[in-house]
């Protein structure tokens, strides 16, 4: 079963083709990595899926409904690349507001804050936190809805290796519970942690495969190298 399906998706913005005929599926209950250099269209693709970006042509289906349908807003959590949280509110106040928007109660708030390791700082103003900590608050605001689908735009930027490992463990745990995650990153070493990979470059989909599949196709164990080979040799004989 697929949580997200794109069919021949094209987005043209200001005369520039940002997403170029994308067709792919994101299987339910997996962590799918959306990888590619900055400017490759990752954020635009996520914005299409959450329904704030107009589609030029093609279709995108999310949980069997067209992307942007109002009922979907109850079902997914979304974090933007720059943490969109209120700097003049505390950690707990930010998460509580998002809990209220989704009709969730106090225990969901505590759980979301704990799962990103921010319990000790919950009464701290977000404006006084570091960039990495703000990112975690932003993630907690998405988790508090306990969504079936999580769309995370570069959630691990600015985090130390220990926190990154912990967050990826959390993503795996959520996937095991049936949550579908689409996680964008421009760091290839995170690719190996994903169940599936979507590689974007200049708005085109270079590959839609598992990490092992990508390694086999490109003949290298190193995913960074695999990406380079895909870019340099264009089409890979599959």
């Amino acid at each position: 079963m697929e949580s997200i399906k794109a069919d021949d998706l094209v987005v043209v913005r200001g005369g520039v083709t940002v997403l170029d005929h994308l067709t792919f599926g994101v299987p339910a209950g997996t962590v799918t990595g959306l990888l590619g250099p900055s400017g490759s269209g990752k954020t635009t693709l996520l914005r299409v899926i959450v329904g704030v970006q107009k589609i030029t042509s093609g279709t995108v289906t999310v949980l069997d409904r067209p992307a942007g349908e109002a009922s979907l807003r109850h079902e997914f959590g979304y974090t933007t690349q720059t943490p969109s949280v209120y700097v003049d509110l505390t950690v707990a106040e930010n998460v509580r507001y998002h809990a209220a928007l989704h009709g969730k109660r106090r225990d969901a708030v505590d759980e979301a804050i704990a799962s990103v390791g921010m319990s000790e700082l919950e009464d701290r103003l977000v404006g006084k936190l570091s960039g990495g900590q703000r990112n975690r608050v932003s993630l907690a605001c998405a988790l508090v809805a306990r969504p079936r689908l999580l769309l995370l735009d570069e959630p691990t930027v600015g985090l130390d290796p220990v926190l990154r490992r912990d967050l990826w463990a959390l993503f795996k745990l959520l996937a095991a519970e049936g949550v579908t995650l689409l996680v964008s990153s421009h760091v290839m070493d995170e690719a190996s942690r994903c169940d599936r990979l979507l590689l974007l470059r200049d708005g085109k989909l270079l590959t839609d495969d598992t990490p092992d599949g990508l390694r086999a196709v490109t003949g290298t164990h190193d995913l960074d190298e695999a990406f380079l080979r895909l870019v340099e040799h264009g089409e890979v004989a599959a």
Binding site: R73, H74, Y78, S84, D88, L89
Partner: protein
């Protein structure tokens, strides 16, 4: 519309306001200081103060709330929190009303303090009804909030948002009857001021303080102001577009 989401938003905006002590102090104290300046300026011409003070009580909440709202909305936009909110179950009307509700509470405090100072310390003539006077001030605050919400979508930076004040508010302040009574204005200026909501606010305030009872004219003015608020709030919610090209 969802009352729970509206109230959650109003509480969130209220908490943000409460944290900003300097803004709160400015919103409450500045109108009182300005009223005092007016009373000193016209110490020998109390007739003028009696005409100006009630008008000012109508103009202050409009200006303050216009500025606070438009800057707050531009901040929501530029920080990415607005786009994020639009991906959650909250409706655009809930968001707009939540803001309006939080700012209404702030302007109620402002109106009560400024009215108390004008009546108690500066010797402004007692209006026909203090409650109706505060009600008109509150309607003006909502008008400022509603116009600020509506126009904030035209501004992409806080700089631009602030520049809307001289563009939108100053012409109204010039023509609303505060500086020159509307009946003394040239015909075309009078006609122009009739399409400006602030004229009705000032008219209501001056009618209230010039008579012993609340005249029908005050209620007519109030209806006009509330009508403008509803139109502007509708436009404000309408300009919050969920999808961008």
């Amino acid at each position: 519309m969802n009352v729970r989401l509206t109230i959650a938003t109003a509480l969130r905006v209220g908490t943000q306001l409460r944290r900003d002590h300097r803004t709160l102090a400015l919103v409450i104290v500045v109108p009182c200081v300005l009223l005092w300046l007016f009373s000193e300026l016209f110490a020998d011409a109390s007739m003028i103060f009696q005409r100006l003070a009630p008008a000012m009580l109508g103009v202050f909440p409009f200006i303050t709330m216009f500025l606070v709202t438009s800057v707050a909305m531009v901040r929501e936009r530029t920080s990415g929190t607005l786009e994020r909110l639009l991906t959650t179950p909250i409706g655009r009307a809930d968001l707009v009303l939540g803001y309006a509700l939080a700012f209404a509470v702030l302007s109620l405090v402002q109106a009560c303090v400024a009215t108390a100072v004008a009546l108690g310390l500066l010797g402004m003539d007692r209006p026909a009804s203090v409650i109706v006077l505060v009600l008109v001030a509150l309607a003006n605050a909502l008008l400022g909030t509603a116009l600020g919400l509506g126009l904030s979508s035209l501004a992409t930076t806080e700089f631009q948002a602030v520049q809307f004040l001289p563009a939108v508010a100053l012409p109204q302040i010039l023509l609303c009857g505060l500086i020159v009574p509307t009946e003394q204005m040239a015909g075309w200026l009078d006609a122009l001021s009739r399409v400006m909501p602030l004229r009705y606010a000032v008219d209501a305030m001056q009618t209230l303080t010039g008579a012993a009872a609340v005249e029908g004219r005050v209620w007519r003015d109030l209806v006009v102001i509330v009508g403008c608020v509803l139109v502007a709030l509708g436009l404000g919610a309408g300009t919050l577009r969920r999808r961008s090209a």
